[in-house]
């Protein structure tokens, strides 16, 4: 009973790992994940890649347009595009 209580599936572990990248996992979820990480190589490998990706994105300081900015750009461009077609 106790074992089941602490056991999480690989899919659930990956989901918690994803949420952790955005600081959205609870302490209890992270605890269960850490138990799984101690013995599951699949979860460990996924977690390592996931952390690496998060680190790279932070390091690169990538940016993108907000939706309203992109819509504004699109509107301006489509006006010009209509003149060319």
């Amino acid at each position: 009973m106790k074992k089941r209580f602490l056991f999480i599936s690989c899919e659930e572990a990956k989901h918690i790992c994803d949420k952790s990248q955005y600081g959205e996992s609870t302490f209890w979820e992270r605890f269960k994940l850490s138990i799984r990480l101690s013995w599951c190589h699949v979860t460990k490998s996924y977690s390592s890649k996931n952390n690496k990706l998060t680190h790279s994105i932070k390091q690169a300081e990538v940016d993108c347009l907000k939706n309203d900015e992109r819509n504004k750009l699109k509107q301006q461009f489509e006006k010009e595009l209509a003149k060319h077609q």
Partner: protein
């Protein structure tokens, strides 16, 4: 040999974020970056006739953007007398004279090499994002790059929270594999 073709109808969807990221890392101003990207698309539209098809559409647009960025800096630098160097000197007696040493050591300043590497890393990330299905890419960018909360994305994209996490999981898995092949 002309292999590539231009399709301006897709430019905003396919390249606006890549070009914006390329620009903002070089001009550090969101509004200026948007203007330069907009000018790039318009210039691309006007000079479509010059496209030989030897480079990809994106490479061609980036080459126009590079010229726009250079022009932007030329314009700024030509405004002589408006340039100003801002330094705050400590004038209280205890720290007087220390200002030079304080400013010599600039450990937090990024080196040009690190900036270049980060910019290349950013390009590699965008190359991988470009390979994702449109919805995955959109949700991933909103969640990871723009930092929107789950509820906002769900409302904007009209999806449930569990759909969002499925999309995020697929995007992250594909991106991690792509980065593993191309960067790490």
């Amino acid at each position: 040999m002309a292999n590539h073709q231009l399709n301006p109808n897709n430019w905003i969807d396919l390249y606006s974020d890549y070009l914006f990221n390329y620009t903002i890392s070089r001009v550090n101003d969101r509004v200026v970056a948007q203007d330069l990207v907009s000018e790039t698309f318009l210039a691309g539209l006007k000079s479509m006739g010059n496209f030989k098809g030897e480079a990809s559409e994106r490479t061609w647009l980036v080459s126009i953007l590079k010229r726009k960025i250079i022009d932007h800096y030329r314009k700024i630098n030509s405004k002589k007398g408006k340039a100003e160097v801002r330094m705050n000197y400590n004038s209280d007696s205890d720290t007087e004279g220390d200002w030079l040493e304080e400013r010599v050591e600039d450990t937090f300043e990024k080196t040009a090499e690190a900036k270049l590497e980060n910019s290349e890393l950013g390009d590699a990330i965008y190359d991988c994002i470009a390979k994702l299905p449109a919805k995955q890419a959109e949700v991933f960018k909103m969640k990871t790059i723009l930092g929107y909360d789950t509820e906002t994305i769900c409302n904007e994209m009209n999806i449930t929270a569990s759909n969002l996490w499925v999309l995020i999981h697929r995007a992250r898995t594909a991106l991690a594999n792509c980065m593993e092949e191309n960067w790490f």
